[in-house]
Symmetry: C2
Subunit: 481 residues, 2 copies
């Protein structure tokens, strides 16, 4: 268990030493040093290297024992066998914490396990360890990034991530930041020989910056404490977990990867049921679900009105929404009457899902449809698909008469409602020659996001993320059901 004060030098270090850094730019230590500089770390950086006086313009020290002040965080890239000595040096320096990127410990062999035990023994009560076999910490407010991360967002945000896989973490930050996520703390904790998932979760539970917690986990060190903590988070901060290794083949892969005990599927299902933590099935679902929680901090309801540009949209939305437990109530007589009064009589449908006939409907009509549906108290949430053809001129060969206006209409309508709105922005064309359409899609997505509208690239992903969101708030606040 970590005391809160012990995390301060990890996330907001005033000084970082890099051990195992050479002048070779290809090596991890050198790259980490460069990446920290580029990212704009404001504290002191101490390269540790006995062969040179200077690396990347920074004064180098032969060992941690020569550094003139106790450092907050030591980044370790040196070979596994040298790590015990480095930990002794850390202790001698008075360092507060070390993030050990080096692999080759308990995940690799019995020798590695002994080495890991030794560093734990040497550090115990003196400094805290993240890793080994990890990517370390990204905390933009602390000016701290991980490899490879010079281009990660420098703005801070409300999403925390803990992960046993460094690879998934780096992808998550990249993909997530494109989707508008910003992060408070991201921690790749690897073998978790000292600080483990539960320690970080405990810190994040009280971290005022963190509102949503996403996790990729292969195993748990301290099941009981993790369970209690996850349970205590319910109703306070959503915890979304992608649990890797729930299959038999996956368990074998977990053993090779982090040496964790993957656990039985039935145990994990019980965990999710009893804690209210949200189960995400894979990378995309973890991303989508984290994003929707971050976007709609007050949750959403399951009764959905669907607006589609074409009847096939409504059919697809109906099938997937029903499967994931969302409701598409039939329009009330009043709603039907009001829609019938404005929609063309043929090629449309006034029942919910509402089919406005085609994506290219006039924007005033689109606006009226949205307003009628949003004012209907039979629904909680609005879902829109196939209404924004950002690449229309290029795809259709016709001028873009009204798409832009429909985007405007939706952003205006969103400003006047408290009901969550989701818009599917599908990947209409993915040819290289049509990259402008992708640019248009990303711009529209950003405009929607700024207007409070949540977007995903397919109706399947949108429905699943929405259902996860509803599930959490129903579990946390059962009276609101």
């Amino acid at each position: 268990m970590g005391k809160l004060s012990e995390f301060e030098p990890i996330f907001y270090p005033k000084s970082v030493a890099v051990v195992g850094v050479s002048a070779n730019e290809e090596k991890a230590g050198n790259r980490f040093l460069r990446v920290m500089t580029e990212f704009g770390f404001k504290g002191k950086l101490y390269p540790i290297n006995s062969d040179t006086n200077e690396i990347l313009g920074l004064k180098a020290y032969p060992s941690l024992r020569h550094v003139p002040e106790p450092v907050d965080l030591v980044n370790v890239n040196a070979p596994a066998r040298s790590v015990p000595q480095i930990i002794e040096d850390c202790v001698a320096n008075g360092a507060r914490a070390a993030e050990i990127f080096t692999a080759g410990f308990s995940e690799a062999s019995e020798d590695g396990r002994r080495l890991e035990d030794e560093i734990v023994r040497l550090a115990k009560g003196r400094l805290r360890i993240i890793g080994p076999n990890c990517f370390g910490v990204y905390c933009p407010r602390g000016g701290l990034t991980l490899l490879p991360g010079p281009k990660y967002p420098k703005e801070s945000g409300s999403v925390a991530v803990i992960s046993q896989s460094g690879g998934w973490v780096t992808d998550f930050i990249w993909a997530g930041s494109g989707h508008g996520l910003r992060f408070s703390k991201v921690i790749s904790y690897g073998n978790a020989c000292d600080l483990n998932e539960t320690d970080f979760l405990e810190y994040l539970a009280t971290d005022p910056e963190t509102k949503v917690i996403a996790a990729y986990m292969e195993g748990v060190k301290d099941g009981k404490r993790f369970f209690e903590l996850a349970k205590s988070l319910l109703g306070k901060k959503p915890l979304i977990i992608w649990k890797g290794g729930l299959s038999e083949t996956g368990k074998r892969a977990v053993d090779s990867h982090t040496g964790s005990l993957a656990g039985e599927r039935v145990v994990w299902e019980g965990f999710f049921k009893q804690t209210g933590a949200v189960m995400a099935d894979g990378f995309e679902e973890l991303l989508d679900t984290t994003a929707i929680f971050s976007h709609f901090p007050h949750g959403a309801g399951r009764r959905v009105a669907v607006v589609g540009g074409g009847g096939g949209v409504g059919v697809a939305a109906s099938d997937i929404c029903e499967r994931v437990g969302l409701k598409i109530p039939a329009s009330s007589p009043e709603v039907m009457e009001r829609l019938r009064a404005i929609l063309p009589p043929v090629g449309t449908s006034v029942r919910n899902p509402v089919d406005v006939g085609a994506p290219m409907v006039p924007s005033p009509l689109f606006q009226e449809v949205l307003e009628i549906l949003l004012s209907w108290d039979g629904i909680d949430t609005l879902l829109i698909d196939r209404m924004f053809f950002y690449g229309i001129p290029q795809l259709v060969g016709a001028p873009d008469t009204d798409t832009e206006k429909r985007v405007e209409v939706l952003t205006n309508v969103a400003a006047g409602t408290r009901k969550p709105i989701l818009a599917v922005l599908g990947e209409l064309s993915s040819g290289i020659d049509m990259i402008d359409i992708e640019v248009g899609r990303r711009e529209t997505r950003q405009r929607f996001r700024e207007a409070g509208i949540f977007t995903l690239p397919s109706i399947h992903r949108a429905a699943k993320a929405l259902s996860n969101l509803c599930y959490y708030y129903e579990t946390a606040l059962p009276r609101n059901r």
Copy 2:
């Protein structure tokens, strides 16, 4: 039932008349005429309009009765109530077929149903009808396109699509062509008052251009014949069906959309089981599955070797592969030994899934790993994830030392094997400012495609598509299992 000769004027018309075409560029008839011209239709185009002598530089005729020759295909955009008269004119002209875009028939009301019955009666034995309430036909070899489709590929291909939704068809052509699909015939058939899904399927079964058939269906007009035909296709041409409206909510949406009888889920499950048609769950899966069938016409086997840049990849691949019925056999002792001899001892795994440690491994090492796995007779198919970081310079802030070489390695290796290779090319960053990375992804995807390597954007989508491919060939050729 349609005779084969009756389809000739539909797919390869020598002349097309457009009825319901005005000088107003916003109207569908005008747009269709323009789109056909832009698409490069080589036959005669006859605009039919009694108010003007010329539309878009083409001589206009007051009615079909004034056209100096019998036309092959009549495109009808006129209001529903005028369609019976137009059909009479078609008959008088000696026209062979009509595609009726107009909606407002049996899907809309009882009056509409009577109107539809009337046009069927008038056309019976005289001309064939596609629609009404449809988008018509796209057949690049015939120079024929549909709305909106001036930018659809002009090259012909081996994929045929039949669909009850015009919207999904247009999206499918756009998205599919970006993914490398090319089409033989695409038919949006709407209400299918005359030619229906089974008629088109019968034609496509014998069409030498068509190798793979994709379908979006909400209902079936002639269940028994469709069943027999689907069954007869097994082992000849894969038939992949996305069946819309399998849920209760979906059935209601189907009723509003095409007025079809959606049918019970259990009946459709029986259909798929007994015919060997492949069931696709939604738009993306229809697209992915069609693409993989088109890409690997000889099928693939379920025993998969996975190569990942990082251990989390292997865990994710294991979980999803097991769920969809793919096998990831543990490496044989010989394979393990050979991999162990070349891979770094820590941070990697020589068991299958094989973890090479990180995406940025040296290309010669990557090549050796691929060659060892491909020469192993314990696996049929190779699946690679998280090895190609096309945006490395931008994301990592380091020069792109070896990604390009790894792409080369894989394309070379693919040339020397008959085992199918799939590579996941994930959407690494989706920010507007990182559009270059998306360009890199699309370029890599195209290079891979040309080298015979199949790509999809996620391990989930790749595994599902591969499993669908395996399922079909196992069902069609059970002795090869």
